[in-house]
């Protein structure tokens, strides 16, 4: 696994309310976009990424660590652990906001990717996204929890109409708003050459999906791809904070991080077909 990441305040906002954490030794990548006045957004997104990282680290050291919230059927224990971490982050932000007297509401989105064995597990809340580029096809893996996306799903707006909507910034789900939150989880089979992009809305408000996938296809190095995407989003206006993580699964890599690739091969070191 090779990876690159960058966060930028953009060209309009004075502060950066986005946060991200990389824990490649666990195959764990976390991104959050905060909201709320004063410094509330920055605090919310930092609480989000740190709570998720802490909970996953603790669970790694002690697999019997309690899972927070209801078990989700049809997905792995790894996905359930991510959902647990996200619910905990929700509770942290919610109680933090309450302790501040509820004057400034605070909230955050979250996207968590964890690569384990043969798959990637994804948990998310809000309108930050994960995309996958595979065989030239670029797909959004997460469904936005936003007013506009909701209307598109119900056939009330076409994609085209939605792109002109003024309601883009209205979320229907976020961390820190209610004592409980519903977390979406999904899993994808990991394939050689897969490129995952995790980003805050500052990226896809400024760039079309074909612009994003174009950068990924012309740049081999994930860090350069992440930087290039941020530069392009700034050139296009940079209306919001922009955070991008580019994660590339390649077993043929000769780059310094290729040793991490071995982790993904997991217990298969004796497999005659493993190509590490």
């Amino acid at each position: 696994m090779e990876y690159g990441a960058r966060s930028d305040p953009g060209r309009v906002r004075g502060n950066n309310e986005d946060n991200f954490r990389l824990a490649p030794e666990m195959g764990l990548f976390i991104l959050s976009d905060g909201m709320g006045g004063l410094e509330a957004g920055e605090v919310a997104s930092r609480l989000a990424v740190e709570t998720v990282l802490d909970h996953c680290r603790q669970a790694e050291a002690d697999p019997t660590l309690a899972v927070f919230g209801k078990h989700i059927d049809g997905v792995s224990e790894t996905s359930n652990r991510l959902a647990s971490a996200v619910r905990l982050a929700n509770a942290e932000i919610y109680s933090h906001a309450k302790n501040r007297g509820g004057k400034a509401a605070m909230g955050a989105t979250i996207v968590v990717l964890r690569f384990v064995e043969d798959r990637v597990c994804i948990a998310h809340v809000g309108d930050s996204r994960a995309y996958l580029l595979r065989d030239g096809q670029f797909d959004q893996l997460t469904e936005d929890h936003s007013f506009v996306a909701d209307q598109v799903r119900r056939g009330m707006l076409t994609e085209e109409e939605a792109s002109r909507s003024k309601m883009h910034n209205v979320l229907t789900r976020a961390l820190g708003i209610d004592p409980q939150v519903e977390v979406d989880v999904t899993e994808e089979l990991l394939r050689d050459g897969d490129i995952y992009v995790v980003c805050s809305d500052g990226l896809f408000r400024e760039l079309s999906t074909s612009q994003i996938s174009g950068v990924l296809q012309e740049t081999d190095d994930p860090q350069r791809a992440a930087s290039r995407l941020i530069d392009l989003a700034n050139q296009a206006g940079g209306g919001d904070n922009i955070t991008v993580m580019v994660l590339r699964n390649s077993s043929k890599s000769t780059r310094p991080f290729s040793k991490i690739g071995r982790w993904f091969k997991g217990s298969d070191e004796n497999d005659p077909e493993a190509q590490s």
């Binding site: 119900r154 056939g155 309601m167 229907t172 976020a174 089979l189 077909e273």
Partner: protein
């Protein structure tokens, strides 16, 4: 006290009391009834009371306002009237009872976005709004408890079991520690094929390290499975069965 009920097809999206306060209708977030659709003008129309009568006025909107099918500029409304704006309908009802959760101040986006800040739908309004909007498209989704779980039946080859219920979003056929259908033998791939369960409870088989065949044909793209399909991959034959 009259009420305006905003509907999309059969679903009720919003209810607004009208009478003492006038209600504006349009695409802009400042309106009392917001219809987020390009066919609707920013400030499209308003409903207000004049000398005890409920009136509708169209602000010269591009696509017009229709009351009971007739284009209207200024018209008196009565209970039962149906106002059509774009693809949405607003029904006028005469209701003495104002329900507790009626959206009195009538804005699904109470925190009017300032400077393009990201905002949440406010808790109380959000709940009401989501409950109402949930009616749209609900019939298309099977109730989660009544979902049929198909089975993969092993017809040929070495696997750890003879059949597998397909309950997971991602089912892997291979040697991986997380594979559901565990292949046995030296030269089996870690992930030979994948089966994905979609939100609408349909199942698609896709390639991984191998390209599976369905009913003898190698697949070229993720392929929807139907009961009785025979899958061949990495030396095993699996039948996809949906039992009643």
């Amino acid at each position: 006290m009259s009420k305006l009920v905003l509907k999309f097809e059969s679903a009720v999206l919003q209810e607004v009391a009208v009478g003492q306060k006038e209600v504006s209708i349009g695409r802009s977030p400042e309106n009392g009834i917001v219809i987020d659709n390009p066919a609707v003008s920013n400030y499209h129309a308003r409903v207000f009371t004049e000398e005890g009568r409920l009136m509708l006025q169209d602000f010269g909107s591009l696509n017009g306002t229709f009351v009971n099918g007739q284009r209207a500029k200024m018209i008196m409304l009565k209970p039962g009237d149906s106002i059509t704006i774009g693809k949405h309908t607003i029904v006028v009802t005469d209701s003495v009872e104002v329900r507790a959760r009626s959206l009195d101040h009538a804005d699904p986006k109470p925190a009017v976005p300032k400077m393009n800040e990201t905002v949440m739908l406010d808790t109380k309004d959000r709940r009401a709004f989501l409950e109402q909007i949930a009616a749209v498209g609900e019939s298309a989704q099977p109730a989660p408890g009544r979902r049929k779980i198909p089975t993969l039946v092993v017809r040929n080859g070495n696997t750890d079991r003879s059949e597998y219920p397909l309950n997971d979003k991602l089912t892997v056929v291979g040697k991986s520690a997380m594979a559901t259908v565990k292949l046995q033998g030296w030269f089996k791939p870690k992930a030979a094929a994948q089966i994905n369960r979609k939100e609408d409870n349909t199942y698609y088989i896709g390639a991984a390290d191998k390209t599976p065949s369905v009913n003898g044909e190698p697949i070229t793209h993720p392929t929807k499975l139907t009961s009785g399909d025979l899958i061949e991959v990495a030396g095993v034959e699996l039948e996809f069965v949906v039992r009643d």
